[in-house]
């Protein structure tokens, strides 16, 4: 630009050369600037992207733990299916992208090469199903129904099938040992949702897209323990996903086993007896409604009286939990949750609530003693009790004259309790009590017994039941008065009249409310599990335990055992003397009271039973039957909706369950050999280090076997120990997955 040579060169060329030079410089300057921008200013951002680029996670799912009964019989375990899968990353390393291997594999599996290649291709917008939707770094399953022979062919010639694995994989199975279904207690699994995946993403146990999560029952309650921890291996990969180095690896930890206090045999007996009782009730004629009883639903709870552990819990109607395995079909889902389904998914032992009827009288008796009434005082048991023109009848109009509290409990005399509750109501100030004055002994006692709130059983979504005390009335009135006042008519139909009265004074404790409440009618609601808790406490001398099903959580290798200890919930608000009186009265129910006709010939001298029957009226429906019983070890509560009286509907069934537990024969003799569980199971099942469990014998159908006079195919001899189970040994002897799930495989067949 400076020295224009003396060549006679024209300035035009010279100037243009300078322009070229400047252009060149600016181009280089542009590159420099862009470099600075990318590497210095945005460098961190790109560094992050680069590391995300080359690290891939491969997640090895953890095997879900089994749910075992008290003796180690698996109620829920894993079935092993032979899954043949292909590793895309391995296939891509081959010259022909693994085409030859896949073709060979197709031959072994009896599929066409096209079918196989379609299964391993990745899904994208242009690729129709079948295609693989998951991570390309995850082995892609080609079939989950491979036979042992096919798996063997693949495994034995591994060098001919690079990148192909044939491994047993665990699939949840509800084995129903000895036909014990246990559906609602076990719950079910369903696929994890996107939301849950995102939520668990950065935790130490992330979900896989293929994961199943416990949705109800024990599967949900103990999901975390059962699920285990998926193994995560981080690989450094290149652009084709070929592994160029292993960065980190956490091995998968199989889920722990849950040992429950359920005894599969007793469970089966309870389920069977509940079913039979309902079937029988449907054949009985109901004089009040003029048609047969509907017996539409029911529940039974068998509980260890001294610990609160649940030995069996059945709910009807029921369903097959295996319907959920492998994804529930739309049809099944409708059948289980539709309007006409009668909701078999509900566990009515903890989610069904109804008025307790006379079984509630133990609460009222305790309340009366608390209120200062003498146990042995003479309380008039008249055939009816009139209050302000309203007549409250004794059940079936019986009249026993003046009787003690114990006798009133034994013969279930309604009018005695009407009278006591009415007197207390009046003492508390009647319809308009002074503030803070009312003692409300009858309501307080119910709360002290633990009613009106969850028992805390280790199952999700337990309901509370209801104690219609003043607080509840106030809240309920506030929520409903608008609609009551709208529909209520002074001289309308029954419902309209009730609404009219409720509109006026539904927030107040009326005389009739208190009278009805004293015999467990009206707005009172309890759940079978609450009844079991109360009667269990009466059996053990007055200590209420939190009902529990989980007994211990045992690691997959059996080494760590976390016991779930019985937890005391409360002491019943009764003195030893009152307890003794009640105990005697309730024994009287079995020998000479309302349940006596169903317990004739029972060896009461050897196995003393106590019982209280209940028949609750429900407006617009047939009566709900209740039967709450206990021996010194167990308490059994059964309820059937729309089935008549407690003893009539459930007496035989409950007696049969006791017979099964203690081995009582039809003639009243006791055969100790046939007793299923004369004393509660104390020891935990042994889980060996290899994960196998010594499974005790279980009959094909314990219910049929024990029912005298009825033909049942009995099958002595249970199953063998899974560790030596010969099935499918051809494949994968050593994988951890095999030893679970395999064990009880043939139990059903």
């Amino acid at each position: 630009m400076t020295n224009i040579p003396e060549t006679g060169r024209t300035p035009r060329v010279q100037i243009r050369l300078v322009v070229i030079q400047i252009l060149v410089l600016s181009l280089l300057g542009t590159l420099g600037g862009r470099l600075w921008y990318l590497q210095i200013r945005e460098g961190d951002e790109y560094a992050k992207e680069a590391s995300g680029n080359h690290v891939q996670q491969v997640v090895d799912p953890a095997v879900r733990g089994s749910i075992l009964d008290a003796r180690g019989v698996p109620l829920a375990d894993n079935e092993t299916r032979l899954v043949v899968s292909a590793s895309r990353t391995d296939l891509l390393k081959m010259k022909d992208d693994g085409k030859a291997v896949l073709a060979k594999l197709a031959g072994v599996l009896g599929m066409t090469p096209k079918e196989v290649t379609e299964k391993v291709r990745l899904c994208d917008a242009k690729t129709p199903q079948p295609c693989w939707n998951g991570s390309p770094y995850q082995p892609i399953p080609i079939t989950d129904e491979a036979t042992a022979k096919q798996a063997l062919q693949i495994r034995e010639r591994a060098e001919d099938f690079p990148g192909i694995t044939a491994e047993p994989q665990a699939v949840r199975r509800y084995a129903a040992p000895g036909k014990a279904n246990t559906a609602q207690v076990l719950g079910y699994l369903s696929p994890v949702t996107d939301e849950e995946i995102t939520k668990a993403q950065d935790t130490d146990s992330p979900y896989l897209r293929s994961d199943q999560v416990g949705r109800s029952g024990l599967e949900r309650q103990y999901d975390k323990e059962l699920r285990g921890k998926a193994g995560v291996t981080r690989y450094e990969v290149d652009n084709l996903g070929r592994v160029i180095g292993q960065a980190e690896a956490d091995a998968a930890q199989p889920g722990s086993n849950l040992v429950t206090s359920i005894d599969a045999r007793v469970q089966r007996v309870a389920e069977y007896e509940l079913h039979q009782a309902m079937k029988t009730a449907r054949k009985q004629f109901d004089k009040i409604t003029g048609e047969n009883y509907k017996a539409d639903s029911g529940a039974v709870v068998v509980m260890e009286a001294k610990t609160g552990r649940i030995v069996s819990m059945a709910s009807a109607p029921t369903y097959d939990p295996n319907a959920w395995v492998g994804g529930i079909s739309a049809k099944d889902y409708k059948r289980l949750t539709g309007k006409d389904s009668n909701y078999p998914l509900l566990n009515r032992a903890i989610q069904g609530q109804s008025a307790p009827g006379s079984t509630f009288k133990v609460v009222s008796t305790a309340a009366a003693v608390e209120a200062g009434y003498e146990w042995d005082g003479g309380y008039p048991c008249t055939s009816s009790y009139s209050v302000g023109g309203q007549v409250f009848k004794n059940f079936e109009g019986e009249n026993f004259g003046p009787i003690s509290l114990g006798r009133a409990l034994e013969v279930s005399c309604d009018t005695v309790f009407y009278g006591l509750a009415d007197r207390e109501w009046k003492k508390d100030g009647g319809i308009n009590p002074k503030k803070g004055e009312p003692k409300d002994y009858f309501y307080k006692a119910a709360h002290q017994f633990g009613l009106g709130k969850e028992t805390g059983v280790d199952l999700p979504n337990e309901v509370t039941g209801r104690i219609p005390d003043r607080r509840w009335k106030e809240a309920y009135w506030k929520a409903n008065k608008d609609s009551w006042c709208k529909t209520g008519k002074k001289n309308g139909s029954y419902v309209e009249k009730i609404a009219y009265e409720n509109c006026l004074e539904g927030n107040k404790m009326r005389e009739g409310d208190s009278i009805n409440y004293s015999i467990g009618q009206g707005d009172t609601l309890v759940t079978p599990i609450q009844e079991a808790m109360i009667y269990g406490a009466l059996a053990n001398g007055g200590t209420e335990y939190v009902p529990t099903i989980g007994k211990a959580i045992v690691s997959a290798d059996g080494k760590t055992v976390k016991e779930i200890k019985p937890k005391v919930k409360a002491r019943l608000p009764i003195s030893p003397a009152t307890h003794k009186g009640m105990d005697k009265a309730l024994a009287g129910v079995v020998t000479s009271g309302t349940a006596a006709w169903k317990f004739q010939g029972w060896p009461q001298d050897k196995i003393e039973l106590h019982a209280k029957t209940g028949t609750a009226e429900v407006y617009g429906k047939q009566t709900t039957s209740w039967l709450a019983t206990y021996s010194k070890d167990y308490t059994i509560v059964m309820t059937i909706s729309q089935a008549g009286t407690g003893s009539g509907a459930s007496g035989e069934a409950v007696r049969n369950i006791y017979s099964a537990l203690y081995g009582v024969q039809a003639d009243g003799s006791i055969d100790h050999k046939k007793a299923l569980l004369p004393t509660p199971q104390k020891t935990l099942p042994k889980i060996k280090a290899d994960g196998s469990i010594a499974i005790p014998k279980i009959a094909k159908d314990p219910a049929k076997e024990l029912r005298p006079g009825k033909k049942g195919v009995t099958q002595p001899g249970g199953q063998q120990v899974p560790g030596t189970a010969p099935t499918a040994t051809t494949a994968n002897q050593n994988t951890r997955r095999r030893r679970r799930g395999k064990g009880s495989r043939r139990m059903l067949t």
Binding site: P5, T7, V13, T30, L38, Q39, Y46, A47, N239, L240
Partner: protein, 399 residues
């Protein structure tokens, strides 16, 4: 004066050429442009390291020998260096007489590519496979013969002193000379090379002193042509998308967009000092395609960081800066035009190559001079260096 100069040097030429000429005091060695030579050697050396880093793990292309590409790159550089010496030896002026022959030979070679002898690599049918792992990309040599041929035509009458500037007829002839191989290359299609040639033609015309009308006319024609191609849908949708993908990788995420994205990640992740040689995860993981050739700059960006990348740009700057000086300082228009053509070529090709890895230029298959792996490119750029040296050596020892 030019005549005298020309005479004095070529007078020494054939008979007394040889080592005496090289070692004579105040002679060749003193007059060589050392900065260009050293910068070019440094770029080639860096290039061999980068090529090694990019290919030592690529077993599918290096025949299992990690040094396969490294050795070949060094061999190519050596041959290129020899070609440079040969070019200086012969001298650009002597070559001037051989231009028609060279031009004819190069056009013949690119025509060969269109016959079944040619091979397609990465969508461009621009290669002739020689066997033994060697192949030829004749379009690289065409760049030189276009420069030499146009310079010969445009400078003839000016250097003879007949006219101050090339007249319209000469310009037309020169354009025609460039157009023939450019059309053939376009048929391959090797659009990247065509773009370089267009820039070379522009640079040559500028330096020749041809009328402004030609320069702007050519620019206008280029722009109009591009718009027409776009508007008349001569190109398919995907071709446009591919072209535009450098700015918006989502237009062609599986193709060019992927390259652009990965290249940008590689360079960006380098930061100031880089991941260290052989430690770049993008390079080791082979996320960037064509990394030893067209995308070799990403290796520098990732493993050597800003420091290494800017060093390459600076070294290229040295070559270009000195080449500009040579263009300015030589007395005859022929030398000026050749030097300016080489500047245009190197500058644009470097800018395009680095620019596409940085995401500011569309992706085309152009090598980075001296650095990228590839014999044809290496030979032609070293011949170009030889031409520059020759122009420098043979300029008058004035001033």
């Amino acid at each position: 004066m030019t005549g005298a100069n020309s005479f004095s040097v070529s007078g020494y030429g054939p008979r007394r050429a040889g080592w005496t000429r090289v070692f004579a005091r105040d002679s060749l060695a003193r007059r060589l442009d050392w900065p260009i030579l050293l910068a070019a050697l440094a770029l080639s050396a860096i290039g061999s390291v980068l090529v090694f880093s990019a290919t030592r793990n690529r077993t599918e292309i290096n025949q299992g020998d990690p040094y396969y590409f490294l050795l070949r790159h060094i061999l190519n550089t050596g041959i290129g260096f020899a070609l440079m010496i040969g070019t200086v030896w012969i001298g650009h002026r002597t070559l001037r007489t051989a231009v028609p022959l060279l031009y004819g030979a190069s056009v013949f070679l690119i025509l060969m590519v269109l016959t079944p002898l040619g091979t397609t690599v990465n969508g461009a049918h621009s290669w002739i496979v020689l066997g033994g792992g060697f192949s030829l990309q004749p379009s690289e040599f065409v760049k030189i013969t276009i420069i030499l041929g146009m310079a010969m035509l445009l400078a003839a009458r000016v250097d003879a002193g007949d006219k101050p500037y090339p007249d319209h007829r000469t310009v037309l002839q020169a354009l025609g000379l460039a157009a023939v191989p450019m059309l053939i290359v376009m048929l391959m299609p090797d659009l990247g090379s065509v773009m370089v040639m267009v820039i070379i033609v522009l640079g040559v015309l500028l330096a020749s002193g041809a009328s402004n009308r030609w320069v702007f006319g050519l620019l206008g024609a280029g722009a109009a042509g591009a718009i027409a191609m776009w508007q008349l849908h001569v190109l398919d949708e995907y071709q446009i998308a591919r072209f535009a993908a450098f700015a918006n990788p989502s237009l062609d995420p599986a193709g060019v967009g992927y390259n652009t994205n990965q290249a940008r990640i590689a360079i960006g992740s380098g930061g100031l000092t880089g991941a260290g040689l052989f430690h770049g995860s993008q390079t080791t993981g082979q996320f960037v395609p064509e990394q030893q050739t067209d995308f070799v700059f990403t290796v520098a960006g990732e493993e050597l960081g800003f420091v290494g990348a800017i060093l390459i740009v600076l070294l290229l700057g040295v070559v270009l800066w000195r080449a500009c000086r040579i263009a300015r300082e030589t007395t005859e228009l022929y030398g000026t035009i050749v030097a300016a053509g080489i500047v245009a070529w190197f500058a644009f090709q470097s800018f395009e190559n680095i620019g596409m890895t940085l995401g500011i230029m569309p992706v085309t298959g152009l090598p980075l001079p001296f650095v990228s792996y590839g014999g044809s490119s290496m030979f032609s750029v070293w011949v170009a260096v030889g031409l520059l040296q020759s122009i420098r050596v043979q300029r008058p020892m004035s001033a």
